[in-house]
C-alpha cells in the first residue's frame, strides 16, 4: 500500500438512506421472526373491530318491564263520555320492541326491579281514565302514571322512559300527564361517574392484573429462573400461590386507590357493604391472576405477553356491559356476554356499590366468579406441570 493517509472526507459521514433502511429492516425482521406477535397483531384489531362494531350496532330493546294496569272503564253521565285508556297504553307498549312487557302486580314488580330481574315496573292507576275524562270536561286535575325504575343504567332508563312516554302520547295525546319516576335502590340517583366506577374497577382489575401477571411470569421464563426453580423443593402449587399473593397485594393497592380516588375526589357513594366489595374484588382478582399465569404459557417474550391484556380486556369491555348494556347488544351476541368474566365483575361491583346488594342477591355472580377461580387455577397448575415434560 502506497497511500497511507486516510481519506479525511469519507462519503459515509453524510446522511445515508442505506443505513436508515438497515435499521428499518432490522426492526421489521425482529417481527418477522416473532410469528406469534405478528399473529396477535393481525388478530387483535380484527377481533376488536368485530366485537365493538357489533356491540354498538344494537339498540336498547326488549328491556324487561312489568306493567300493572288497574285502570277501569269510566263512563261519565254528562257529558256522556266513556273511556278505557289503560289497554290502549299497554297495547302500545307491547307493540314497541323497546320493552318486553310482562303483566303483573305493581308491588311484585317493585320487588323484581329491586332484584334486577326487570328494569321498571309501571302502574296505571285505577282512576286513570276517570281523571282523563274529568280533565276533558274542564276540571283541573293532576294525572299521574307511576314508573318504578332502575337508574343504574342511564341509557336503559332513558330508553324505557321515552318508550312509555311514546305509548302514553299516542294513546291519550299530549295532555300534560305526569310520569312519576320512583328510583329503585333507595332512590339512588346516579351521576355518570357513579355509574361508571364499578365497571372501571372490574376493568382495571382484568387489564392490569393480566398485564402485570403475564409479564411477571414471562420475565421469569426469560431470566431462566423458572427452569432453575424446577430443581428445587418448590411445588407448582406453592409457586402459583406465591404469584397470586404477590400480585394480589398489588391488586389490593390498585383497587383501594381507585375506590379512594372515586369516593374522595368524585364523591362516589358505596351503597352496599364495603367489606363485601373488597371480598368481591379479591376473588375477582384471584381469578385473573390464575388466568394470567395460564396465559403466560403462550407467551415466549414480554412483547407477546403484553398483548394478552388488550386481547382479554377489550372484548370484555364490549361484551361485558361496560360500554353498552348487555340488553342492547344484538340478541345473538348476548350469550357471549355470559362467557366473559367482566360481566360478573360488573354485576358484583354494580350490585354492591350502586344497588346496595348483599350476598343474598349476588350469590349467582359470586358462584360464577368462584368457579372461574377454580377453572383458571386448574388450567394454570396443569400447564405449569406439563411444561416440565417438554
Amino acid at each position: 500500500m502506497s497511500k497511507k493517509n486516510v481519506d479525511l472526507k469519507p462519503k459515509n459521514l453524510n446522511f445515508s438512506l442505506r443505513r436508515t433502511m438497515a435499521i428499518a429492516f432490522r426492526t421489521m425482521n425482529q417481527f418477522r421472526r416473532d410469528r406469534r406477535t405478528i399473529a396477535l397483531m393481525s388478530i387483535v384489531p380484527i377481533v376488536i373491530m368485530l366485537i365493538f362494531g357489533l356491540a354498538f350496532s344494537g339498540e336498547v330493546r326488549n328491556v324487561p318491564v312489568i306493567i300493572d294496569n288497574q285502570d277501569v272503564l269510566y263512563t261519565n253521565p254528562f257529558p256522556p263520555i266513556s273511556l278505557h285508556l289503560g289497554p290502549n297504553i299497554t297495547d302500545n307498549l307491547v307493540a314497541d320492541d323497546g320493552v318486553d312487557v310482562t303483566f303483573g302486580n305493581y308491588d311484585q314488580g317493585i320487588d323484581s326491579v329491586e332484584l334486577g330481574d326487570v328494569y321498571a315496573a309501571v302502574l296505571i292507576p285505577a282512576n286513570f281514565s276517570e281523571l282523563v275524562v274529568r280533565m276533558l270536561t274542564g276540571e283541573n286535575v293532576t294525572i299521574q302514571l307511576y314508573v318504578y325504575i332502575d337508574a343504574t343504567k342511564p341509557t336503559i332508563r332513558a330508553s324505557v322512559m321515552s318508550t312509555i312516554y311514546d305509548a302514553l302520547d299516542s294513546a291519550v295525546g299530549d295532555r300534560g300527564i305526569k310520569l312519576v319516576q320512583i328510583l329503585a335502590h333507595d332512590g339512588a340517583e346516579f351521576t355518570g361517574l357513579d355509574v361508571g366506577i364499578p365497571s372501571v374497577i372490574a376493568f382495571v382489575i382484568i387489564f392490569l392484573l393480566v398485564i402485570v401477571g403475564t409479564i411477571t411470569v414471562t420475565r421469569e421464563k426469560i431470566q431462566g429462573t423458572q427452569d432453575r426453580l424446577y430443581s428445587t423443593p418448590l411445588r407448582s402449587s406453592e409457586r402459583l400461590l406465591g404469584y397470586v399473593i404477590g400480585l394480589l397485594l398489588i391488586a389490593i393497592l390498585m383497587i383501594s386507590l381507585t375506590l379512594i380516588f372515586g369516593v374522595l375526589v368524585f364523591g362516589v357513594k358505596v351503597h352496599g357493604n364495603v367489606f363485601l366489595l373488597i371480598f368481591a374484588a379479591l376473588i375477582f382478582g384471584i381469578a385473573h391472576v390464575f388466568l394470567a399465569v395460564f396465559l403466560s404459557n403462550f407467551a415466549q417474550n414480554e412483547l407477546q405477553a403484553i398483548q394478552f391484556a388488550p386481547l382479554t380486556a377489550l372484548p370484555s369491555m364490549a361484551l361485558g356491559g361496560m360500554l353498552v348494556p348487555i340488553v342492547s347488544l344484538p340478541v345473538w351476541l348476548q350469550p357471549l356476554s355470559y362467557v366473559v368474566p367482566l360481566t360478573y365483575g360488573i354485576n358484583l361491583f354494580e350490585g354492591i356499590m350502586l344497588k346496595g346488594w348483599g350476598f343474598k342477591e349476588l350469590w349467582v355472580d359470586f358462584t360464577v366468579v368462584a368457579g372461574m377461580c377454580l377453572l383458571f387455577f386448574i388450567l394454570a397448575v396443569v400447564t405449569v406441570r406439563n411444561r416440565m415434560r417438554d
Binding site: Q223, T225, D227, T232, P233, R235
Partner: protein
Amino acid sequence: MAIESEYVIETQDLVKIYKTGKVKAVDGLNLKIKKGEIYALIGANGSGKTTSLNMISGALFPTSGNIRVLGYNVPKHRRIISNYIGIAPQDYSIFYDLSLEENVRFFSRIYGMTKAEFEPRFNELLNILRLEEKRKALAKNLSGGMKRRTSIACALIHNPRIVFFDEATVGIDPVLRTFFWKYFHSLKEDGITLVITSHVMDEAERADRIGLMRGGKLIAEGTPSELRNKHNADSIEEIFIKLSEGVIIDE
C-alpha cells in the same frame, strides 16, 4: 433411606427428545459419577450437556431411561434430592431486579432455610467468593464474573452434596478461572461431588474424570491421563478433534 452406592449419580440409557424438535438432544447416555469427584462433562455446544444436567437435577423429564441420584429415582423423587443438589446454570438464572443478597436469600427460603441458618452461611460464601462489597448491588448492575459468582452463591447456599456448574468457567478472565478451580478443589475436599460442563476442552485437565459428549452420547470417558494415553494425544482437545473426525460440529 436409599442404598449407599459408590456412585452418587447414575444414568442408564438416558434419552431426551424435545417436543419442539425431532432431534435427540440426549441419545442413550450412561453416566456414573462417584462421590466426591470432580467430573467434567465436555462437548461442543449442542452436544446435550445442559439437557443431561437438567434431567439429572429433575428440572426436565426424560423421554426414556433411568436416573438415580444419591440412590433416589429422578424425576420421581426430585423434590427429595433437590435438597442435596445445587445448580449454577449457564445463563446465571438470577433475578436481575433483586440485589445480590436478595437473590441468595430468595433461594435460601426456597430451600426452607431459616434466617439463623442463612446469615452465617451467606457471609461465608460472600467471603469465599469475594463478593462482600457487592451484597447490596442490584444483580443487573454486576459484571459478568460477579453475576456468575452470585449464581454460584445461590447454588451453594443450602450446603448441597452435589453441585452442577454449567459452563461456569466459560467466558471469564484467567485469574477468576484459576480462582474457581481452586475453589472447586476445596469443595471436593469437603466431600462434595462436582459436575462441571464446558466446551473449553482444556478446562477438563483439571478434573478428576472426564466424559466427552457428542450427539447426546458419551464418546470417551476416563481420567485426563488415561484418556491421553489411550488416544495417544497431548491434550483433551486433540482427542476430541480426533474422535470428531469427519463430523461437522454444531456451531
